[in-house]
Subunit: 230 residues, 2 copies
DNA sequence: TTCATTTGTTACATAATCGTCGCAGGACTG
DNA sequence: CAGTCCTGCGACGATTATGTAACAAATGAA
């Protein structure tokens, strides 16, 4: 995957253990991680480090995440930076929303790290034309998220909605093996109950769609583990 | 979400109450906890249970933590396991340091449980990069956990699920000898009953797979003890 | 050497996993 | 409203992996 400079994320969380876990995972995903354990430092670091995205815990000593969020969204030079808020309970999300802090997304603890990653990437794609306009590519497969179009070589392909999301997910990390459970999380959403075998069916459909004009099977089955691209 | 095996921590602390608190918290964090209340048991359990990390109290009857630490760091097969020493007062840390016991980190009582967790995780990340992004390597064998791919030199290898997990385990600590029981624990899971001889068969299969394109046998048999890589 | 023990290897029955098909229900469209 | 598309599920067969037993080879001790 051709990359520009790695995206910089400012991670604001006062609980050291949680921060460490997240930082570790974010770094493993190729993010440049800047850390802060309170709101005041966070505000300083935003100007100093110019992060591309902010992950912000709600509950923090001194300045709460809500307050930090509000202030950042007021300043014109920082209001474009997407903010993902972490909150401890689902009801709190409504509260935060009600306060109109302007956060771009909310994740409820305990969250799946994969989900948080996916949302962070989604936000980045949204605001960062370098990533947003860029088509996802792998070998001869091209996918333009904007126009919702998929090509294999020169031929245009027709995919169903689920096939499309599935391909986007796989395309975001070519080579990486996703378990059926992970794919259910990322493509279907965590709270939906569907049988894991359903993933198989859709992978099969995606395969057929990708090969409708010929070509080899780009999806790799890893027995006992899951699926990957290439 | 598919997990790798949970990290195993050997907790050595003679004071029951403190040990209970720590064990509880470690388990809540997803560690697999093995407990000992004296240094002798600790030394035994290290070989039997193959922990990923050791948390060691300084003051203990019989063998002190310092002595245990020194002995573990002398044996080549255990010296890679990170040790965190607990000591009662700050001045003692200097003393321990002066003794050059080789502990990897020190935490002063009374410590914050959260801090101890964070340090434990930090140590694990340091020595056990298996979880993300990092490629496990030993001599000409390369294994990428993320893409589930294995190479010997330039050639790609095809392994079955069990062979793969077995290789991951061995690769996480090249040179270390694992007993058949340990391998059953780590590869098959703690509560599965299978004959220990099954390990032999799978080691044989792994050998064949690793040598399918030629090359020498990288798995060493230690008669009466188990298997190791290199 | 000879013997007992441990380990390597093969074969085979069983079990688990995977790909695919068809169907019924739902959503959406014209 | 009819028609089309999509979805999730159950079922079936084909493939692959697994565990065990049996036997061969090796190792080490006496």
């Amino acid at each position: 995957m051709a990359r520009t400079a790695p995206p910089r994320v400012l991670l604001v969380e006062d609980e050291p253990a949680q921060r460490a876990v997240l930082a570790y995972n974010l770094e493993a995903e190729g993010f440049d991680v800047i850390q802060a354990d309170n709101g005041e430092d966070a505000l300083l670091l935003v100007s100093e480090e110019a992060p591309d995205i902010i992950i912000l815990d709600w509950m923090m000593p001194k300045l709460s995440g809500i307050e930090v969020c509000r202030r950042l969204k007021m300043r014109p030079e920082t209001r474009g930076i997407p903010i993902i808020m972490l909150s401890a309970r689902a009801e709190e999300v409504d509260k935060i929303r009600g306060l109109e802090t302007g956060a771009d997304d909310y994740v409820v603890k305990p969250y799946s790290v994969l989900e948080l990653m996916a949302r962070a990437r989604a936000q980045l794609r949204r605001v960062r034309p370098s990533t947003a306009g860029v088509v996802l590519e792998h070998e001869d497969i091209r996918l333009d998220p904007e126009s919702h179009r998929v090509f294999r070589g020169e031929k245009s392909l027709k995919l169903g909605p689920t096939e499309f999301k599935l391909l986007v997910t796989l395309l975001e990390r070519p080579g990486r093996v996703f378990s059926r459970e992970q794919l259910l999380d990322l493509v279907w959403g965590r709270d939906i109950y569907v049988d894991t075998r359903t993933v198989d069916v859709h992978v099969g459909r995606l395969r057929k769609s990708l090969m409708q004009h010929g070509g080899s099977d780009p999806v790799r089955t890893v027995r006992g583990a899951g699926y990957a691209l290439g």
